[in-house]
């Protein structure tokens, strides 16, 4: 460790902070083999928090010795050996299921304690890690899943992602942050890295310096969703590629040393940015980095929601990428392995994970593209998914999560499949479902967000129910969706949504997105429409 913990003498540290001063989170890797031998019951409960640093969460019910396990996949790029290894772990220890997360990571459930050392060994052999996939540390670096092959990228971000990932990974200087810390590095011009909802985001930009156009990044800080969402704010700096590490280190050092450690509820970077204001934050950054050029020209031209469906030419002539729909991000280990085999047989073996919880097979030559697409796996996982299923997302839900009040993944899949049968639109509508007030399913940036709750109706029935939120986006700096009044029982949610979307279909202009439609006609009008529909079904 080459820094002084300037907060160590603070008398108002929360309990986790006190523990982290006594023992660094990364040391849990020394303990896990011992616990694996002595059994789950031998783990003191006050040690559970450290498992997070190994990408592990004790899974409910908490006495069974099972873990949720998360693997980092920087900017979503997996080579063939890595993809095969991930499939094998899912098959052997994850009850055959793999989840692709909204941070391009891969997640398993029900992994037994005694199998963890084998999982770690297998991952290490192929250069993957679970380390700091959770915990108060830099999480998976998200970015453009098409990095290096994208016709719509300003430049290839793979080298800079690699540099930043290795700089922070298991770096003891940054393994004790106040809370989770999310970095996004993206040069896709459609904001594939979801800049506004990350703590530190690098976004594509250019600037004329000494008469020459230089490509680089602008920087946003302090974004995050959770129960108190906050859109990242932009620093007035232009960052050349050779300065990304310098700026990343500066922002993260400021967070480490000034971030709040009294209450974990107020520990994310957004609280510091909100308190200081962006000008003061910028001054602190520049004090550490030295002078940087002022911001130049922003090269972001919209937002694609992180969706890359279909077969498309890469920037390399004669090669294509194929974007596949994995409904709500859940896939069997067997099917994941089949995708890995297809990628090897037809492409260069790479698979890429997307923050919309989908997959991409890159580097497919023109000559074999049709052969690849004729594989029956694409019947199950289409490249042109039906619009609702393809653009639906869901958090884990009450199946595995202690905080969720309702099921989400199954319910979302069911609703989307039925909407696909009965509502046809000329634009996709992104519907994201969450089971609580947090935002693991990124509900706040959905076209239509659905949030689960438990409801006791007027006639004393206790039912699962949902609230609707409309008009979220990350276009032009972002906007959170707005709640419509009224709670819809689970038995009616499909019918209500269907009629609501049929109203959208009837009233929308050609090609008009749901966000543009909501902006044009207003939340009040949508509230009236929902009230009318809900009243009809509640009779």
């Amino acid at each position: 460790m080459s820094y002084t913990k300037v907060w160590a003498d603070n008398e108002q540290l929360n309990k986790n902070e006190v523990n982290k001063l006594k023992k660094d989170g990364l040391t849990i890797f020394d303990d896990i083999p011992k616990y694996a031998k002595s059994g789950f019951a031998s783990i003191p409960k006050d040690q559970y928090m450290y498992f997070k640093y190994a990408g592990l969460t004790v899974q409910k019910p908490q006495d069974k010795g099972l873990f949720m396990l998360r693997v980092k996949v920087p900017t979503g790029i997996l080579n063939h050996d890595q993809a095969v290894t991930l499939a094998g772990i899912g098959r052997d220890y994850g009850r055959g299921i793999i989840d692709i997360t909204t941070r391009q990571s891969v997640q398993y459930h029900w992994v037994p304690l005694e199998k963890l050392t084998d999982v770690f060994d297998r991952l290490k052999k192929v250069g993957l890690t679970t380390s700091e996939a959770e915990g108060d540390a830099p999480r998976n670096v998200v970015g453009n899943p098409l990095a290096g092959i994208d016709p719509d990228e300003l430049f290839d971000t793979r080298p800079v992602v690699e540099e930043i990932y290795h700089f922070f990974q298991d770096n003891p200087d940054f393994s004790n942050l106040p809370r989770k810390y999310k970095i996004s590095i993206n040069a896709n011009t459609s904001n594939a890295g979801h800049a506004e909802i990350n703590d530190l985001s690098f976004i594509p930009a250019s600037k004329t310096i000494d008469g020459k156009k230089v490509l680089g990044f602008h920087v946003k800080v302090g974004g995050g969703l959770a129960a108190k969402p906050y859109l990242a704010e932009q620093l007035n700096i232009f960052v050349t590629l050779d300065q990304v590490k310098n700026v990343s280190a500066a922002v993260t050092t400021i967070y480490r040393d000034y971030g709040y450690r009294k209450s974990r509820a107020r520990a994310r970077l957004k609280y510091l940015v909100a308190d200081w204001g962006i000008k003061k934050f910028e001054e602190k950054v520049l004090a550490l980095t030295g002078p940087l050029p002022e911001a130049g020209h922003d090269e972001t031209r919209g937002w694609n929601g992180g969706f890359f469906f279909g077969a498309h030419p890469q920037k390399q002539k004669g090669l294509n990428y194929v974007g596949v729909s994995i409904p709500v991000g859940r896939i069997s280990a067997e099917d994941f392995l089949r995708f890995a085999e297809l990628a090897q047989n037809y492409g260069n073996g790479e698979l890429r994970t997307v923050n919309s919880q989908n997959l991409i097979l890159p580097n497919i030559p023109d000559a074999v593209l049709d052969n690849l697409l004729s594989d029956e796996l694409f019947q199950k996982f289409p490249i042109h998914p039906t619009p609702f299923t393809g653009y639906a997302m869901a958090c884990t839900g009450n199946e595995f999560c202690n905080l969720a009040l309702t099921n989400t993944k199954d319910k979302m899949k069911e609703i989307a499949a039925r909407l696909d049968q009965e509502v046809s639109l000329d634009v996709p509508v992104r519907i994201y479902m969450v089971g609580c007030t947090n935002s693991c399913g990124q509900r706040q940036i959905a076209d239509i967000g659905i949030q689960g709750l438990k409801l006791r109706t007027k006639d004393k029935q206790l039912v699962d129910a949902y609230e609707l939120f409309v008009g979220g986006t990350l276009i032009d700096g972002g906007q959170f969706n707005e709640r419509l009044k009224g709670r819809i029982p689970a038995t009616q949610i499909y019918d209500v949504l269907k009629d609501f979307l049929l109203f959208f279909k009837k009233e929308k202009e050609k090609g008009e997105t749901f966000f543009a439609f909501k902006t044009r006609i207003g939340t009040e009008k949508l509230q009236q429409v929902l009230d009318t529909i809900a009243k009809m079904y509640s009779k």
């Binding site: 309990k15 009040l405 109706t457």
Partner: protein, 72 residues
């Protein structure tokens, strides 16, 4: 034990209710009890929604009760 946050919708608007209980079912019963006990004239409850729950740890648990923002 967990700490539950409810919103009761009545003809007069919404009321927040916070309950500590060991199950969702029991939490609903406690919410009912508090409504009956705390209000002299019992309002007509259109619905009672459980919107959030938190584990009560040794450090406690709590909610800030304030008018809901449009995005909440």
């Amino acid at each position: 034990m967990e700490l539950y946050r409810f919103i009761a919708t009545t003809e007069h608007g919404e009321t927040a209710i916070v309950v500590a209980a060991d199950s969702e079912e029991r939490a609903f019963r406690v919410a009912d009890r508090e409504i009956e006990h705390q209000l002299l004239k019992k309002p007509v409850i259109n619905d009672l929604a459980l919107v959030e729950k938190k584990n009560i740890t040794k450090n406690g648990a709590g909610y800030l009760i304030q008018p809901r923002k449009s995005y909440e």
